[in-house]
């Protein structure tokens, strides 16, 4: 297992320059106008001189660009994400948002895998049958739909028309609670965004599993296993499945990245108090420190997800040279 440790270390070492590059790009974007204070002033028009001075000091506008970057980076690495221009430290605000976002994203990915893998296999095993065509058609509609638009329709139907579910937020701000108590209230709130997110990732996963499975089922070892009398069920769910899922693992890792990237739209639609929604709110009022902080946190999460994915892949496929 020494080589595994070696691999993990190498993977993490490789992540460092990537993270630095991401930080540089993010920093440059916010400084593209010259200095960030100009941007802030576009959002907040009536600053008094004292406030302006405070903001200028905060962004070290008198220092050259690279000094500003390193000062920001140094803070970042110490875990200090800066101060919101309105109130409180970014780090303090961000933690509950991370929780909310993950509360939605992780179950969505897991549910999509749990449902998507069997459907993908079923569809591949009955290629060109009616049920396969139904599945592939639904899936291609699924990937062609902007998540938030699906969300809007869900709100139209289930909140505005049927009035079964709440359309906004993660919890009702005050009683009456949905369906009786505070827990069922939260459940009522999460159902819609979670279903929408699951459906969209499900579509992508079903397509991946199906095509990967089709490829795998054509391989010689599947035929050889069947010819040695192993049951169809075992051939499918032991041999073919593992071979079909292994390449998909990488893609699922990347999907997680896109999902997080898609968080702003989805969370805004449902008013879900996660990183994405707060990003949109902060960006709209140009609260730059918060925006920067959220961007870096999302990047770090995606990076971590990628490392985990690579590790899972390496553990699943003995041919990967660690």
């Amino acid at each position: 297992m020494g080589s595994l440790l070696n691999y993990i270390i190498r993977r993490i070492l490789f992540a460092i320059p990537v993270f630095l590059a991401v930080s540089i790009i993010t920093f440059l974007v916010t400084n593209a106008a010259g200095d960030p204070v100009q941007i802030v002033r576009l959002g907040i028009r009536n600053l008094n001189p004292a406030q302006l001075k405070a903001i200028q000091d905060y962004f070290h506008v008198n220092e050259p660009l690279y000094t500003r970057y390193f000062l920001w980076l140094a803070d970042l690495l110490r875990g200090n994400l800066g101060q919101s221009l309105y109130s409180g430290s970014v780090a303090g605000k961000v933690v509950p948002w991370i929780g909310s976002t993950l509360e939605l994203q992780i179950p969505a990915v897991l549910l999509a895998l749990a449902i998507g893998i069997p459907i993908g296999i079923y569809s591949a095993k009955r290629q060109y049958s009616k049920s396969d065509i139904a599945v592939t058609t639904t899936a291609i509609f699924g990937i062609s739909m902007p998540t938030f638009w699906l969300g809007i329709n869900a709100i139209l139907i289930f909140s505005l028309y049927l009035r079964w579910l709440p359309s906004f937020g993660a919890i009702s701000p005050y009683p009456p609670w949905w369906w009786g108590n505070i827990y069922t209230d939260q459940l009522a709130h999460i159902i819609m965004p979670l279903s929408v997110l699951t459906f969209v990732s499900l579509a992508a996963i079903v397509r991946l599993i199906r095509s990967s499975m089709l490829e795998t089922l054509r391989q010689d070892f599947v035929l050889a296993a069947r010819a040695s009398g192993i049951s169809d069920f075992k051939v499918t769910y032991k041999h073919a499945l593992k071979n079909a899922v292994t390449p998909v693992v990488t893609v699922v890792g990347l999907t997680f990245g896109t999902l997080l990237g898609g968080a702003p739209a989805l969370e805004t639609t449902f008013g879900w108090p996660g990183l994405g929604y707060e990003f949109v709110l902060s960006a709209t009022i140009l609260d730059l420190p918060v925006v920067l902080g959220i961007t870096m946190i999302i990047s770090a999460m995606v990076l971590a997800a990628n490392i985990v994915t690579d590790l899972v892949y390496a553990l699943m496929d003995p041919r990967v040279r660690l």
């Binding site: 070696n6 270390i9 190498r10 070492l13 040279r321 660690l322």
Partner: protein, 342 residues
């Protein structure tokens, strides 16, 4: 065979290609934490010398990983060699491609061509047969444009295809036909020497003979020299005048075709020959079954490379590498115990 008379040597045809101590290693790396570490070399071609006469077919046989394809490509300078020298008509091939004038380089390329193993990968799927064959005319301008069509048709006929095939695409042909196209492309430059790398190994049995007889007739009619690379000893016997047997990058034996097939002097050649099934019930030979697999060409065994599998191996075989010795006229063997087989 022009030239032979001038030199006054009638029986010894002039040398066309000379390979001297050719070496090609491929480094093997292992990943460290940050940088790759070199852990060894694949000794693909490890000091190979031979020559090919004008109008001669030299067979190069060996099992997978013995370096035969690498040797063929290194001779044509399609991959860079590590050391050694290849002389084509007396001129250094690598030197010419590296430092020669544009004309010299082109002349050298024209003179030497290659026919590849895989009839499916060796033709550009997006070009018609006409474009594939006439590409040589575009590059070398040795045929005026007005004659291209005529020349392509002549070449197609020469390899046994029809004129109307010229406007088709490779995917419309069978494996054997593609191999014919491949040969026509090689012939388009009017080469003196062709490396044929396993040209029939991926073809159906009934089609193999077509391509083999085509190559044979080309060699005779057009006086082209071939380096015929193959793992199939039967086809090598059929087509070659002289034969080289390679094992893990080294020449094991090098002789006239009948001598090597009828009186092999290297235990490896003997085993190799006895392993080939013969479609004849009356011929029963004692099989020499070799133990074990062909070893990895990465860091091959010391001494004679064949010693771990050789039934004749003694201590000296594990210590000293046997030199390629001449035991009979035109019969070279690299074995400490070759005399025992005489």
């Amino acid at each position: 065979m022009e030239g032979a008379g001038i030199e006054g040597v009638v029986l010894m045809p002039a040398t066309l290609l000379e390979v001297k101590d050719l070496v090609k290693y491929f480094p093997v790396y292992e990943r460290g934490i940050l940088i790759k570490k070199k852990v060894g070399d694949v000794h693909a071609v490890d000091g190979v010398s031979f020559d090919v006469a004008k109008g001669e077919t030299m067979g190069l046989v060996g099992e997978s990983g013995c370096g035969k394809t690498t040797a063929g490509k290194a001779i044509l300078d399609l991959i860079p060699k590590d050391s050694g020298q290849v002389l084509f008509e007396g001129k250094d091939v690598h030197e010419t491609f590296e430092h020669g004038s544009n004309e010299d380089r082109k002349a050298m390329r024209r003179g030497m061509q290659m026919v590849f193993q895989n009839p499916y990968g060796s033709l550009d799927p997006r070009m018609t047969v006409f474009d594939i064959i006439s590409e040589a005319f575009i590059i070398h301008r040795h045929v005026p444009k007005s004659e291209w069509k005529e020349r392509v048709y002549t070449l197609l006929k020469l390899v046994g295809l029809e004129e109307y095939h010229a406007e088709r695409y490779p995917h419309e042909f069978s494996g054997g036909q593609r191999q014919r196209i491949s040969i026509a492309r090689a012939l388009a430059t009017e080469p003196k020497f062709i490396v044929a790398d396993e040209p029939v190994s991926s073809l159906d049995v009934s089609v193999r003979a077509q391509i083999l007889t085509l190559l044979q007739s080309l060699q005779q009619r057009e006086t082209i020299s071939f380096l015929y690379i193959s793992h199939d000893l039967s086809s090598v016997r059929q087509i070659s005048q002289r034969v080289i047997v390679m094992y893990l990058g080294k020449i094991m034996e090098y002789a006239d075709v009948d001598r090597i097939f009828d009186h092999p002097l290297n235990p490896y050649t003997v085993a190799l020959l006895s392993a080939v099934p013969v479609p004849d019930l009356e011929r029963k030979v004692n099989k020499i079954l070799l133990a074990g697999d062909v070893p990895s060409p990465i860091n091959p065994p010391p001494g004679c490379r064949f010693n771990p599998r050789c039934p004749y191996a003694t201590d000296i075989c594990k210590q000293a590498e046997p030199p390629l010795r001449q035991l009979e006229s035109d019969h070279l063997v690299a074995c400490h115990h070759a005399e025992k087989l005489m």
